[in-house]
Symmetry: D2
Subunit: 364 residues, 4 copies
Amino acid sequence: MLVVMQAHATEEQVRGVCQKIEALGYRAHAIPGAERTAIGITGNKGEIDPGSLEEIAGVQEVIRVTKPYKLVSRDIKAENSVIRFPGSDATIGGPTLAIMAGPCAIESRDQAFAIAERVSRAGAQFFRGGAYKPRTSPYSFQGLGEEGLRIMAEVRENFGLRTITEAIDNESLELVEQYADIIQVGARNMQNYSLLRRAGRSKRPVMVKRGMSATLEEFLMAAEYVMSEGNYNVILCERGIRTFADHTRNTLDLSVIPAVQRLSHLPIIVDPSQGTGKRNKVTPLSRAAVAVGADGLIIEVHHRPDQALSDGMQSLYPDQFDELMSQIRQIAPVVGRKVSVAGLNATTGLAGVETPGSDRAVNF
Amino acid sequence: MLVVMQAHATEEQVRGVCQKIEALGYRAHAIPGAERTAIGITGNKGEIDPGSLEEIAGVQEVIRVTKPYKLVSRDIKAENSVIRFPGSDATIGGPTLAIMAGPCAIESRDQAFAIAERVSRAGAQFFRGGAYKPRTSPYSFQGLGEEGLRIMAEVRENFGLRTITEAIDNESLELVEQYADIIQVGARNMQNYSLLRRAGRSKRPVMVKRGMSATLEEFLMAAEYVMSEGNYNVILCERGIRTFADHTRNTLDLSVIPAVQRLSHLPIIVDPSQGTGKRNKVTPLSRAAVAVGADGLIIEVHHRPDQALSDGMQSLYPDQFDELMSQIRQIAPVVGRKVSVAGLNATTGLAGVETPGSDRAVNF
Amino acid sequence: MLVVMQAHATEEQVRGVCQKIEALGYRAHAIPGAERTAIGITGNKGEIDPGSLEEIAGVQEVIRVTKPYKLVSRDIKAENSVIRFPGSDATIGGPTLAIMAGPCAIESRDQAFAIAERVSRAGAQFFRGGAYKPRTSPYSFQGLGEEGLRIMAEVRENFGLRTITEAIDNESLELVEQYADIIQVGARNMQNYSLLRRAGRSKRPVMVKRGMSATLEEFLMAAEYVMSEGNYNVILCERGIRTFADHTRNTLDLSVIPAVQRLSHLPIIVDPSQGTGKRNKVTPLSRAAVAVGADGLIIEVHHRPDQALSDGMQSLYPDQFDELMSQIRQIAPVVGRKVSVAGLNATTGLAGVETPGSDRAVNF
Amino acid sequence: MLVVMQAHATEEQVRGVCQKIEALGYRAHAIPGAERTAIGITGNKGEIDPGSLEEIAGVQEVIRVTKPYKLVSRDIKAENSVIRFPGSDATIGGPTLAIMAGPCAIESRDQAFAIAERVSRAGAQFFRGGAYKPRTSPYSFQGLGEEGLRIMAEVRENFGLRTITEAIDNESLELVEQYADIIQVGARNMQNYSLLRRAGRSKRPVMVKRGMSATLEEFLMAAEYVMSEGNYNVILCERGIRTFADHTRNTLDLSVIPAVQRLSHLPIIVDPSQGTGKRNKVTPLSRAAVAVGADGLIIEVHHRPDQALSDGMQSLYPDQFDELMSQIRQIAPVVGRKVSVAGLNATTGLAGVETPGSDRAVNF
């Protein structure tokens, strides 16, 4: 159910409707749009009676949402959602492409800084890096843990980059939300509903990667899990699906980008590193991702890929990343986007960077 | 690495080798076989020096295991592993097929008892039922939680059935291991490594269901995660993979049964209910699963499938389950198996059933 | 459209309806059933007006068939179709399982005879072998061509086995129908509609193998192509589909057997050799195929698999085939089937075997 | 095997080597490159002895090609192959993107002309349209046949567009090569080796579409079949593969473009109409295809998609095609390509267009 408020409804009226909904045992999600506020009603109690809401002051109409995804849908919000980061120009979902780059795993302060310096200079606004690595083998390198998060926080402070890193369970999520700007839920955990709910109770934006065999609907429902708990800052990420094709590690499904954008107001970015698993495919598929209309890219970059502790084969050299940035800078305008000016972050310094853990605007 | 002990090595010698291994910073897994004990060495510190171990009293040889799966492999244990349950004749992996049956979700005491009575009478030794349901939508019925577990414990007490139910996170796992005999890790969590590790620290046997897009190696590695923490009572379960085929909900991959059995000593059972998603396919595919050589079946049975809160479409009626049992009873001998005598559990009563939560033998 | 005749309609009345249909520019397919004859109407002229047919003597009713498959469907014929071979007891689709065995490719008279002798003795009634091999590489062995067909005809004469071999184009089909009993259309040609139509104009039964990525509907529509040309003796064959799974060459989809049997009256058999690509998987999956309810098996057998010119890796040794036959002999009764007595064909001699090329009954 | 000639080897020397090869019972394929000629040796007789060739005048070295694809490989020709069409500026594989557009099926002269006028004006150099349609149902519209080809020839004459249309068997291929410029082998026939061989004996360029479940290697081997018969003008086309994903009809695998380009000198284009099956996905995926580096596009355009006899749902309106052309015109330079000037073909008239059926240069 969706309550559409009148264009001039007051905040108090919105609050009143929300209280009424919650009094009935449901959850209310007030979502301000460009022209009016919509209030999503969720819960698994069965359907609410529209009559009891239509009478309340400020309500324009009550609409039944028949799709399984509610808060994710454009029904509740027609405009694109833009995720903002206070103290930074970085956005996700706006006219500037969100470029996230960095190593697969944080290995040391030196490694992280060496890479951060290069990707920042090339124009990335976000630094990626794994502190908790979900590995197929229990005997493989599992990441530096909190030590890795601390290094990322230093990168953040020194280069003015926003950071994104994966949480693999409630314990790591608690740390990730302290140290980083965006919480990543990985492909293997896309249907780890317990983790999605926990992320939904965080104040940090959450990026949900598509599971290897997730349909479009399942992908959107994973985001719905996060939003149903009240965290509306969700980013989706296509990272390749599993098929019979064996020339790439996964098959990057770029058609999901326009498919998501038709149905949902949430931003969606592309990971061509995981999506192909091969360095020589990353740049062409990055160009394609921008051309198809993605809201951004997340790219693995390593200054010494042959020595990387994980996924070196798919990491770009910094020079290749420079070249990639130069190419997408030319493609972006065709789809009404731009790419942030190279080196801007590095030079603006850190004056405006707030302490990790402080409150950030929740934009929806 | 694998330390093979001499045939007549003493327990003390085994202990000595284990202590030496752990002193070097690795983990030792002593696995008694029919003729000798083997000690698996795991850890992600890099490789141990075989020289330092070969000299110890009782050691016959030290072998490098090149496959990514170590403890799961037949290299460490040639014979099939049989999971036993003290106070019960039920086994998994032995000559008697392990038959697990029950509703998708526990809905009420009456429902659970009505179904348990029928499946027990038909010859099932295990009662399945979900208390924590991983649902695609946050707004769908999510299971009764601990209340559901309590009902399962009552079923256990009243019908002498061993119980199996899914844990979806550390919190629910803690409860599941208190109330039930087997902890299930579902397909969506097959690569939730945090949960697998936690299950590996439990004393209960763990059943790991194959992920929807898991390769054979990834499937075995999920079991390896559990075993690497010291829990060697692992059961695998094929439940269908995701393909383009649309006449069933998933494509049941029966070829994985002999493939697993070649490589691993662990038992593997089949879930034709999830594996097909259609009631009329469950019986034929159950017959096929037994014929292919599976160690057991897990089947959804509901006395009123049309009123089931989840997955009614794929649940058998109790009469259909009776018929299925009668059919597999005839097929089992062809593959050197038998099916437990119908109604045995129900009539033997509960004299020998220990309190849930008590210690059970860990057999490997 | 489907014209259902009255139970006591005369042959002349059936003929009358057919003439009327063809006069209207459609094709009429008179299909005798157990109790009544049904007449399928096909053509791509748009729909026929039922009114003009309902008035004709002997017509009971005119039914619109909304499914895309018409002649294949149980709507037109409720009972299972049984393919018969005059001068032989061999059937496909009846209570006796149809067992087809032989080498992947015919390599020489000696090879074919050595294998035929063994599979005949073990109870196979059909001899398989490729004379025209569709190979991924143009530089691989492509089969002996007509020479191979001549050898198969000799096998037929000497062992009383019915023969099945693949046609890859119109030219080879013309020869295959002269020399062999069943024309096989391979998986790679399942949507070669020109070849299917040509097979539909043959008097020989046609076995259509499922394409590697064919849905159930596409599979049935391939059979419909053959039937639409007037050849109603069609056998379907599941041979594995392409998925991400890499432990077998293809993923054998046994759930398609009951799915086909629900919708269609046509017999369906299973090819576990192609379906797994691995010798050690053939016997378990053969057992499973019989248990699931398939109408038969087609198995690769070679007396010297290591020297085979193609697919030796997946061919059974004759002793393994003996063992397989013994196992399925025990499973067959559970699904209301039997397996032909071992060696029967070989001993009955050839008295009743008609010359290849003579007319055979077309049973539907 | 591959014979590399010296840089200054004479034509006569090349001929001498070819004669020697053919005298030994193999087939010789002389492929002129930018700096030297290479001669591919094919045949399935087993390997040729290099010694007998190394001695011949003009030979520099003899190299074993270990990959299964030989003539397709960059081993035999390092530079990109460019397909040219005498009497036309149109090329495939060169710096100008090859843009093919037109209806799914030719329905009438009026329809074809209306669409040709628009796509020609927008800058397409090739007109696509089906005269023989491979349809899943035998009762669906199967194309106009030769009548359709005649209409295409008229389009060719009137608009100066080169034409491409599908052949589905030897009979239709014979007609297609008379009327059209490029013979298309469809996805369903990618492993119809008989048809591929026949296309290999044609003088027309052949476009091979990727099968729905074809691996990269199988795709290249299909082209190898054509080339092994002496036709070196082969174009590859990605048109989507079959996966579990259900938001598009097929999953367009753009990563195959750089993968093919690494291994093969053949041009590869993309079909986003078939590849997505949805009109609203065609433009974004077309942009992506150009950005990834494809050599061209083949797009379905229809002036009245709602009335189309096949695949109207995925056909662009002419105005949408104009917009698409305008977008890719901006992206092309980033990958070193350009798009032919809009309307050029239409205005240059037909002076230079040779009679269909006349000889054309075979460029390799």
